[in-house]
Each structure stands twice: as C-alpha cells, then as structure tokens.
Symmetry: C2
Subunit: 327 residues, 2 copies
C-alpha cells in the first residue's frame, strides 16, 4: 500500500509469500521490492522515485536480529528503494490498521498467533510458534486434528468423537491417497504446510453440510483460539475493557470466514474466563476493511517521526459483539 | 549378523541409520552393503562370496512399493551381494528374534511403533507414523511434551502440571538457547529429529534426580505406550495369553532403559484394560539379548524355504511380569 504524506492511498498491490522463515531472505526481499515497484507504477510515479519510509508488517517479523539482517540486506541490494525501513509482525500491523488504542489481535490463517497491544504500546503474545510447537486453531491445526482423528480411529488408539467416514473420504480425495500409508509423503518428504492446511476448506464444507466430526474440529478451533485470548487477558490494561465495544478483538486470517462454525466453542471459553475478570463485561470481534499493510505503513512513518493520519472509523467492522449478563 | 545354514552366528557388525525415509535410498543401500562386506571379512570369508539370503529388518520397511524399489536398486547396484532379498520392519524383525509364537512388540526409540503378531503370522499395528502424526511415547515425543509444556506455561496458554524451572534450564542448556525464540531453528530450519529426541536423556536424568515435571513426562509416555498395546489387544489370538509368561510384550528401543520411570503409567493403563479382556490375566515384558537382525535373517531364510534354527531360550529376557489378581 503506497500512501501520500497526507494519508491518501495512492496504490495497492499484492505479491507472493514474504515469510522469510518459509521462503528464505532472498525471495522475501525480492517479493517486497517487486511490490513496491508495481505500486509506484500503478500510482503513476517514476519507478526510480525513492520512497520515504517502507513500513512492513510481516508474518515471521518477530525476531529482532533476523529483522535487522533483512533490513540490512534490503538496503544493500536496493539502495534507492527507501530512505528508512521498519519491520513489525503481521499481528501488530493489523492492530495498527484497526486502531491506535490497542486491543487483542488473533490471527488464524495457515498458522495462528495472538497478540495483546495495550494503549501504551506494550505487547504480550501467546502462540505464533509454527506447526511444530503450536499454531493451535489455525487451518493447519484444524486439518491436522481431523487427519489425526482418522489415524487414531483406524489404529484403535483413541475413540473418535464422531464418525470418521466423511473426513476419511474427504482426506482420500484431497490428498489423493487410498490408505493411511499414502499420507506419509504429505507429512514428510513432500510436506507443504500451506497445502496440508488447505484441507481445512474441505472440512468447512463438510461442517456446513452437517458432518459432526467436521463441526467438532471447528468448535475445538474456536475454543483454543479463545484460550489464546484468555492467556493474555490478565495483562490487558483496564482501559481496553471500557470502550463502547468492550474488549476489541481483531480477527485476521481466512479461518475466521468460518466464524459461525467456531462460535459455540469460542464464546463458551470466553464466558468461562469472564468469571475471573470482573472488568471484562463485553467484547467485540472486528475484521479489517483495509489490508494490514496500512498499519505497517503508519508504524513505519511513525518510526521516522511522521504521523500518517488514518480515519479509524472506516478501517474495521464489528462482526460480533457479546455482553455478559449476570447469571 | 552373518549366520551359517546351521544357525551359528559367524559375525556381527553395525553401521549408520538405514531408514530410507530419513537418509534416502542411496545411503540406505550403501550402508547395508558396507555392513555385509564388513561381516564377511570379520568372519574370515572372501568379500566376494555371495550370500544366500539377505534378510533385513528395517525401521521404515513398511510400505510394499517402497521396499520392492529398495530391493530392485540393491540387486541392480550390487548384483553379486546376495541370491535373495527380504525386507521387513524393525518391529517384525525384533519379534522374530524373540519368538516364533508371536506376541506384541512395542518400539520406543527416537520414534515409536507397536505391532501385534499372532501365532499364525497375521499382524495388526498401531502407531509408527513418525513425529508429524504419532510417535507417542518415543524419545521425540517425551522431549516435545516437555518443551511444549514450557512454551505453554510461558505463554500462559496452559497451566503446567508441575514447576517448569528444571526443564526450562535443561532445555536452555541442551539446545544452547536463552529464550523460546531461540528454539525456532531447532524446530524448523535446522530440525533434526534425533537431536531433538536426544533431549529425552536429560529429562531422564532430571526424573531420576527427583524433578516432578520430568517424572510426569515419563509417566505419560508409559501410559500412551500401554495404550498402543490396548489398541491391538482385541485382535490378539487367545493362545497369546495362555503361555507361562502370559501375554508376551517385547520392548525395544532406548526409552525402555527408563522403564522404572514409566512403570506406574504403563501398569495403570494395562490394569484398566484388563477389565474388558477376561482372558488377559498376566503379561510379561521382554528385552532382546540379540540384535533384531537375527530375526531379520531368520525371516529372510524362511522366505527362500530354509529354516535357520534359533534357540529361543537364549534370545530374550523377561524384565517385568505382572499377574492381575481379583479385586
């Protein structure tokens, strides 16, 4: 997203995955450079124009040393790209797109992550460790839970919570396998997280068509995503609860498209948590109307002392609100 | 293990990992060839001597198509190595080393696996799907459970069952990290299953020194390994329960060295299962005194119609026996 100093959006472009942990530093940098050049051309600018600030909100933009290395390599390889660089995570970029008063952001796409941002800018995270150590409630996790339920049922290692027939058939079709052994290349030699996670879409179809096991895995996802919020709740400043919306929870990532399937699990866990937090009387779920690149750009500008005016009344929508009533 | 037609052991050698899923087909084949050549030299034979039957008991030797490919490539690359080839899994090789009457074999090393072999040779498996879909009760799984407990406690996502101080410190030392972020390369870019699983040894030390969380993860391992046995129990033929030892359970892999740490969890799960299986009155845990290569060689010979006499009274030891008494 290319913005003028007055906060007007001059151009928007998109490009390939830029998580440097997944695609490597070179591809990450090239992808970003290409997007910037496309944006300048699309805004009718000379592609050699140097931009003032390149603010990046990147999945995988967490580790300080790795971020500095990324910035160093970017300015070395493309010295005229930008006068300054700033990298933050996708979570923080999303939050800065929705509000400058803080809140909680919960990402559930291929992976998952949760971040509390207090009004003073301090942050507390939960999750975001990738599929080997977390990613609970993500598309990968939902797909894995469904597949593991089939494996355990076939092995008689655990009783499935519901009949596995539909999920087994959907798995055979999606992964093009005829038995459990056929899943091994998908899990090891040819493992691709995004392809594995893509099975989640088939499970959403099954859930919407009424399959109980498909519905179950989404309810579990709702529960564990809410549990991430409960994890950071004790660190949330009082002010975050006192706005008109109650606690603002920004929901990012494609799994939230299946909100209706996760709702019962999600609301149940937050209701249980309410008992221990008396100031937690209401919460609202928001979704962004703009790309979280807007927040990245704003934070980038802020980092060099400039204030990009953003009209926060138009950047996010409330799609669900809940007030706790006394039992 | 090189055997004469009369079942005498002429030589024993060892070599590198031969799991073709992990090291690739080429390294697997070369490793096996080198071991055979070393064995012939060590037995005082001309290294050009062709052996009659090469019986292999391989971790990863499960999938029929992959096994045939392995044999084809081996005989093409080393046409004078052996007159015949036979590949089975490490589990079946271990079982054939201990007895020709069947039983249950439970492997817990870096990974885990369980196989029931009935007296008629029919097999039923549980687990053995690797770290992405199982490996419950293995060294990898124990290490992962301990590390995940630290992550979840630090994230406030789940309350740890016991204080994490000891495990966190052992983790920092073993993986040479100072924070959770430092674990990411060990989980992704530089992931090595065997190195990750090696942390289990440190946890065993902690458990023996009295740390409650270390003890907890081993008890969980005992429970889930026993659960693998419970999973195959309904398919076990009556005769398997009626011998002097009761149900024979062959325990292979380095995690069984920590049997005393797993015992309470293991025996508890089998005692609960006993209620549903009235003929299940006793079980014995056995460990091999010979390499499971002996079973592989025996099955290889059997495959070409030869019987290698094995004295089963000396191939395995009973290290634990339990008789259920009426409550």
């Amino acid at each position: 997203m290319l913005l003028s100093a007055t906060g007007d959006i001059l151009a928007e472009t998109d490009g390939p995955c830029t998580n440097h942990w997944l695609v490597g530093v070179d591809k990450c940098i090239e992808g970003i450079y290409d997007m910037v050049q496309k944006a300048k051309i699309s805004a009718g600018l000379d592609p050699d124009t140097q931009i003032h600030s390149l603010g990046m909100s990147l999945s995988g933009g967490e580790q300080k040393a790795a971020i500095q290395k990324l910035i160093d390599q970017m300015s070395e390889r493309y010295p005229k790209l930008s006068q300054s660089y700033y990298i933050t995570t996708d979570a923080i970029g999303a939050m800065a797109t929705a509000t400058d008063h803080g809140g909680i952001v919960v990402i559930s796409g291929t992976g998952s992550n949760c971040k509390l941002v207090n009004p003073d800018g301090t942050q507390v995270g939960c999750g975001g460790w990738g599929h080997m150590m977390g990613d609970e409630g993500s598309a990968f996790w939902i797909s894995h839970l469904a597949v593991k339920t089939v494996f355990d049922a076939k092995d008689n290692l655990a009783k499935p919570p519901h009949d596995i027939t539909y999920v087994k058939k959907a798995m055979d079709e999606y992964f093009q396998v005829s038995d459990l052994m056929g899943m091994l290349p998908h899990l090891y030699r040819n493992f691709q997280k995004s392809h594995f996670a893509g099975f989640c879409r088939k499970l959403a179809e099954g859930a919407n068509a009424g399959d109980a096991l498909c519905q179950y895995v989404f309810i579990q996802a709702g529960k564990i995503l809410a549990q991430h919020i409960v994890a950071v709740l004790p660190k949330a400043h009082q002010e975050l609860f006192s706005g008109e919306l109650g606690l603002p929870i920004l929901c990012e990532g494609s799994v939230w498209k299946s909100w209706e399937l996760m709702k019962d699990g999600f609301t149940q866990v937050l209701s249980q948590a309410q008992a221990a937090h008396s100031h937690f009387q209401k919460y609202s779920l928001l979704t962004l109307r703009h790309s979280s690149a807007l927040g990245g750009a704003k934070l980038g500008a802020q980092n060099v002392g400039a204030n990009l005016p953003v009209d926060y009344s138009s950047t996010a929508n409330v799609f669900f609100s809940h007030s706790f009533t006394k039992q």
